[in-house]
């Protein structure tokens, strides 16, 4: 009996710790392992400049992962974010072609509004017309990609001036890149959002739409807002990507899948209702760290998509296994009879 008594508080303490880390535990471990591996592979990696450059490179994906998290945790998908990034970069270039003197803040504001508008359409079509979000956002992706191709004839014409590109390229306050600050700000905002009533509403919606609706949650509105925020996050990522590499018709290619990979890697359950936004962002950092490590090992960048495919399947399989076992074990906890 004594063993049992001591086991219970220990288990409780462990449970508290686990609850704190939440479903993100595997991703934090993975991120830690990757960062250690990077230190061994390339001793210069932790020089401040290089490490900040690493974060700058991860920043657009971190933003997309945060946005994608909001959509996934309430039980939906947003496949249109990569196309929003591409369209954002191309549209910015076209704006500058029309109005060469435009202030960069105005252009950024216009992009954010346009991104939010795309999200609004995604949200309204999904919730209002009942089209599954997978189809809605896939359609939106094709619409935007086709639109960009039609508009530019396959190669964008414009040019992004240096003041617009500063956010994605330059440093502020000495040597800290703008992109790192943007990343930090979005991270803090996302955490605060998820702690607010809206955040809890969103998770509840993803967990069980019916329960949430019965509890008085306006499910459709919550989901639409999630899509709007995801679209705006993608537009902000477009500012960073466009700033970093200039005009490109492939700026956002494949980013929607990188974002989804990052989110599931972060321990967020596809289908919604479980996972933390910090985990999703850690997933984005892990994915970038993994790609960096593969590059240092001399593995071709062309295999990135292969690695990504393996990760997505594995992470979802992992999540599913974890979940089902938890369900099986949970009834035994209140009875207090440890069977192990």
């Amino acid at each position: 009996m004594t063993t049992l008594d001591s086991a219970v508080p220990r288990a409780a303490r462990r449970a508290r710790l686990l609850a704190l880390l939440g479903t993100g535990l595997p991703v934090y471990a993975l991120l830690g392992a990757l960062l250690v591996a990077l230190a061994f592979t390339d001793p210069g990696f932790y020089e401040p400049d290089r490490f900040l450059a690493f974060i700058r490179r991860a920043a657009p994906l971190v933003l997309l992962a945060a946005g994608q998290y909001l959509v996934i945790v309430c039980g939906q998908f947003d496949l249109s974010v990569g196309a929003v990034v591409t369209a954002g970069v191309v549209v910015a270039a076209e704006i500058y072609a029309e109005f060469p003197g435009a202030h960069w803040l105005v252009v950024c504001g216009a992009l954010l509004l346009a991104g939010a508008a795309v999200g609004l359409v995604n949200g309204l079509v999904t919730t209002g017309l009942g089209v599954p979000s997978f189809i809605t956002t896939l359609g939106m992706m094709l619409i935007l990609e086709g639109g960009v191709f039609f508009w530019t004839g396959g190669s964008p014409q414009g040019y992004l001036p240096d003041d617009f590109r500063a956010v994605g390229r330059d440093d502020v306050l000495g040597r800290v890149p703008w992109a790192v600050l943007v990343c930090l700000a979005v991270g803090v905002a996302a955490v605060l959002l998820m702690r607010s009533r809206f955040g809890r509403t969103l998770v509840a919606t993803g967990d069980s739409e019916r329960t949430a609706a019965l509890a008085g949650v306006r499910v459709h509105r919550a989901r639409t807002v999630a899509f709007v925020l995801s679209g705006a996050a993608a537009a902000l990522a477009a500012v960073l990507v466009g700033g970093f590499s200039g005009v490109s018709a492939q700026a956002g290619t494949g980013m929607e899948f990188e974002a989804i990979t990052a989110v599931v890697l972060g321990g967020v359950l596809l289908g919604g209702g479980r996972g933390s936004v910090v985990g999703a962002m850690a997933g984005a950092f892990s994915l970038t760290a993994l790609f960096t490590l593969l590059n240092l090992q001399g593995v071709s960048g062309a295999l990135e998509s292969t690695v990504q495919g393996v990760i997505v399947i594995a992470a979802v399989a992992l999540g599913a296994a974890d979940w089902s076992r938890l369900r099986r074990r949970s009834p035994s906890v209140p009875s207090g009879g440890p069977r192990s």
């Binding site: 396959g154 014409q157 590499s245 590059n295 071709s300 960048g301 690695v307 992470a315």
Partner: protein, 399 residues
């Protein structure tokens, strides 16, 4: 217990991923439309391996020769011309209806070129009608375009073929109806009155590679950036460069495909700098993404090594502002003027060369100032031969 399996499994998967990814180094994604000078072609001409020793040697020899014709009008110059009689095409009267079947305007090179051709047409009062049909990069559309144009009352037909083999039969058919002038990319028939093109891909690739051979110490690491595999013009450029590097003892650290995209290029160069701990020279098969490569070195805090580009203004400006060690071989856009000149000569019954080989100048440090123009848009090609034309620079997007 259950929770702990998470990281373990993840670690196992990570190592699996590392293992699988070590087995192959081949790029998996296929090329899309290249943004560089040429349009795609799956056709390697007679030689599927993209390298013909005789052609390679001839091109290198041609770069050293002095072309015939007016020095200040390179689009009228010709190398080793074999003149052919065109009296059978001579027409009476002054009202010329010129027709042009264009492969497309899918990149800035072609946009500058088409603008230049239109300006050339405007120079000649006797051309009363100029019909341009855009095939939008599709072979089937260009085939029907050519059929349609040869049934109209065109006096001569200019064709810039989208691909070589597929368009050959359509051009052969048109040859029977009216004089046909082909430029940029060739066709597998000698029925056109003249085929206009600059020296070629080997000369381009060799010009860029020779510059690196001179400016990079032996054993240096060269990063080669290519648009996409399987395009004959681009394959020629690379095969000439590869040969030059091999002879000079330079190490080709990586050969990567950028798809002509700045974002892709920047991440490839950033990765290469990180992986090799520095790069001593960058060879590019076209200039559209040179500036992105330069930026990658800057953002990595490295000095920009000797680099090759093309005659686009953004690269020339970066070269000048940052005082780069650079060279810019060109695939000159002034070649778009030549077909109009040739058409008028043919219709006047004057001789034209069967193969009109245009010079292919290279911009070096010494000539950079001549081609640099702050007022032109970043994607303008400096070797357009259009500076003295009416409407310059506004019609080309300049100020």
């Amino acid at each position: 217990m259950i929770r702990r399996t998470g990281p373990l499994l993840a670690a196992a998967l990570l190592s699996a991923a590392l293992l699988t990814s070590c087995t192959s180094d081949t790029p998996s994604d296929g090329p899309s439309a290249p943004a560089g000078s040429a349009s795609p072609s799956q056709d390697g001409g007679e030689d599927a391996e993209f390298f013909t020793q005789a052609e390679y040697e001839q091109q290198l020899a041609l770069t050293r020769e002095t072309p015939e014709g007016p020095e200040d009008r390179p689009w009228e110059q010709m190398l080793r011309p074999e003149m052919a009689d065109t009296s059978q095409y001579a027409v009476e009267g002054d009202d010329v209806h010129l027709c042009f079947s264009n492969a497309g305007v899918f990149n800035p090179w072609r946009q500058v070129g088409l603008r230049t051709m239109e300006a050339e047409v405007a120079l000649h009062e006797q051309i009363t009608e100029f019909t341009v049909v855009d095939a939008e990069g599709q072979d089937d559309k260009q085939i029907s375009d050519i059929q349609e144009l040869s049934n109209q009352d065109c006096d001569a037909l200019i064709v810039s073929p989208n691909t070589t083999a597929t368009l050959t039969p359509a051009i052969e058919e048109a040859c029977g109806r009216l004089p046909v002038i082909v430029f940029d990319r060739g066709v597998n028939t000698d029925c056109p009155v003249t085929f206009i093109h600059p020296i070629g891909g080997y000369a381009y690739g060799a010009a860029a590679a020779d510059f690196l051979v001179e400016n990079v110490a032996e054993g240096g690491n060269i990063l080669a950036l290519r648009i996409s595999p399987g395009v004959d013009v681009l394959e020629n450029r690379w095969s000439a460069a590869e040969l030059a590097f091999e002879e000079a003892g330079l190490t080709v650290a990586d050969v990567e495909f950028t798809d002509g995209d700045p974002a892709v290029t920047k991440s490839i160069v950033t990765d290469a700098i990180q992986r090799h701990g520095g790069i001593d020279g960058v060879w590019m098969d076209s200039g559209a993404t040179s500036v992105a490569a330069v930026e990658a070195f800057e953002d990595a805090g490295e000095e920009v090594p000797p680099i090759t580009g093309e005659d686009q203004q953004d690269f020339l400006q970066a070269w000048d502002e940052r005082d780069l060690t650079a060279v810019a071989p060109t695939y000159p856009t002034f070649q778009w003027r030549t077909p109009v000149v040739a058409a008028l000569r043919v219709l006047a019954g004057e001789e034209v060369p069967v193969e009109w080989r245009l010079p292919q100048p290279t911009i070096t440090q010494d000539t950079l100032a001549d081609y640099l123009s702050e007022d032109m848009p970043p994607l303008h090609y400096a070797m357009c031969g259009c500076e003295g034309m009416p409407g310059y620079p506004q019609d080309w997007g300049g100020e």
